[in-house]
């Protein structure tokens, strides 16, 4: 089977020949330690990964405001600052009051630069490795546009602002998804965290009112075009899980162990209709653990999540800069060894 076939079989909750693997993000430091001076595409071929993932390029084109301090304006109008890690944090929101919405210009989803990398992935990997395009959840984009704290306060004090903002961002995301699928993406991942380690950030009532409808609309867009959809969210999502599944997703990622998302428990409850992508701990095991600890965790993860299909092995978040490259390689090796169907572990 090709990597693409494996990924799609897993998303259909069926058994392929081998449990597939996918990572949403691999830090350059880890890549360069394993295959120096390689491109991401070369690295995917070298590792023979079943999927290649393109991150959401929407915010990527920044307008530099202060090069020395790393301050930029993103596509949505939020002012951000870059620190030492690869990501930035917002320092001034684009929408300061509801009135700002009247003259707000959202970014254009059809701009070519958004799809350059996706197009080259499709050209290189199509039919062989699954080409996966990531789009950012409406919830996450709205937080950045409005400011996280003010956005949460809007849930209670200004529902109409939330609704209007949701509509603007959803319109962008639907077109972005449509474009990605037309270009040839096989799978769409919707990124954006709903929860912290212990609890969701918002009540189930607020999730149902403000987050579920746009999520469902985006998932429907993917499903209606015959494609597959994975939802990524960190944290303890148990209280929201029924609703998340109800949106129609095919898979969930990453099921963080530190947040009480036991993959065996999730398999019991949703495993008949949901593909589980995860959940090898990248906080300790992949970063500071021994090779033996990595192997043990991969084996246990497969034992609990893989029977009957519907499992994609992945880290519990990403292969970030503190992940030990040798541990990452061991994770791949162990998956290939223990992950043959029919399962013998």
């Amino acid at each position: 089977m090709t990597g693409k076939e494996r990924i799609l079989k897993a998303l259909q909750v069926q058994e392929p020949d081998l449990i597939p693997m996918m990572e949403l993000m691999i830090d350059k430091k880890v890549k360069d330690a394993i295959l120096p001076n390689s491109t991401y595409e070369e690295f995917m071929d070298y590792l023979d990964m079943d999927a290649a993932v393109v991150v959401d390029r929407t915010v990527e084109k920044f307008e530099a405001l202060d090069e020395a301090k790393g301050i930029v304006r993103d596509q949505w109008g939020t002012i951000r600052q870059f620190g030492k890690e690869a990501t930035s944090h917002p320092i001034q929101s684009a929408i300061q009051s509801e009135k700002d919405l009247d003259s707000y210009n959202p970014p254009d989803p059809d701009l070519e630069f958004r799809y350059g990398v996706l197009k080259s992935f499709v050209k290189r990997f199509k039919g062989h490795r699954a080409v996966v395009a990531s789009v950012t959840d409406v919830f996450t984009i709205c937080q950045a546009i409005r400011g996280t704290e003010q956005y949460f306060i809007d849930y209670i004090e200004n529902p109409s602002l939330v609704d209007r903002l949701n509509e603007i961002v959803l319109k962008y995301n639907l077109k972005y998804i449509r474009n990605c699928l037309e270009i040839g993406a096989d799978v769409i991942v919707i990124s954006g965290d709903y929860a912290a380690n212990e609890e969701p950030m918002m009540s189930p009532r607020h999730f149902k009112r403000y987050i579920f409808p746009p999520l469902k609309a985006m998932v429907s867009e993917v499903k209606n075009r015959g494609s597959y959809c994975i939802k990524h969210t960190d944290g303890n999502i148990w209280k929201l899980f029924d609703m998340i599944v109800e949106s129609g997703i095919d898979g969930i990622h990453p099921l963080e162990p530190v947040a009480g998302m036991d993959i065996g428990e999730v398999k019991k409850k949703y495993g008949d209709r949901l593909c589980l992508m995860g959940n090898i701990d990248c906080g300790y095991t992949l970063s500071w653990g021994t090779l033996e600890e990595v192997r043990k965790e991969v084996k246990e993860c497969i034992q609990r999540a893989a029977p009957g299909g519907g499992h994609i092995v992945a880290s519990s978040n990403s292969i970030h800069s503190s992940v030990n490259p040798q541990n990452f390689l061991e994770m791949i090796k162990a998956t290939r060894e223990y992950g043959k169907y029919p399962l013998s572990v």
């Binding site: 030492k84 890690e85 944090h89 306060i153 380690n197 609890e199 950030m201 530190v258």
Partner: protein, 213 residues
Amino acid sequence: MMFDLKEISKRLLELNVSKVEQLTKEAINFGIPAQKILKEGLIPGMEQVGVLFKDGEIYIPEVLVAAKAMKSAMSLLQPLFNKESMKYLGKVAIVTVEGDLHDIGKNLVILMMQGIGFEVIDLGIDQPSEKIVEFVKQTDIQILGLSALLTTTMPKLRETIDALITAGVRERVKIMVGGAPVTQKYATEIGADAYAPNAGAAAEKAKTLIGYA
């Protein structure tokens, strides 16, 4: 006619910002001392907010609106306090040791601690251990709260505590740690005095650390 300060707490828990403001103004007009309005009217409400949040009964939006009500009432009370009569529970400094993706968690801790009566100094993000050591040397804070948001930046927590030991000032403060990748196990390992998994628990822990039940 007695003014029932408990009404203010009740309205705060109902997230009724304007009612909290109105009742605070009325209490002031009644001649009730600002410290008493704060201690018996506002703080019990915020303490309950912390407990409900810790227990997963309310969530971030509710906590933020409650904090907004608290801040609004505080701005009415502030002119009535002078340095001498404002009795804080204690003094806390909060800092993120390195990097920052978002500071919602840390900001919630600051809001909750202020809400229950602490004086809180926000030292910001990306602070090297030398700066933190200097700050501890020069101030009279009782609690130092350190946060790390990524696995990658967690070692900085240990580094900061070790730097405080080397400088001979570790004993001056109680150290609390937190952040998504941080665990009680790690906190114990690096010699922190306390760990809290969320803002409500953090505020409660801070109280016990300085000797209140």
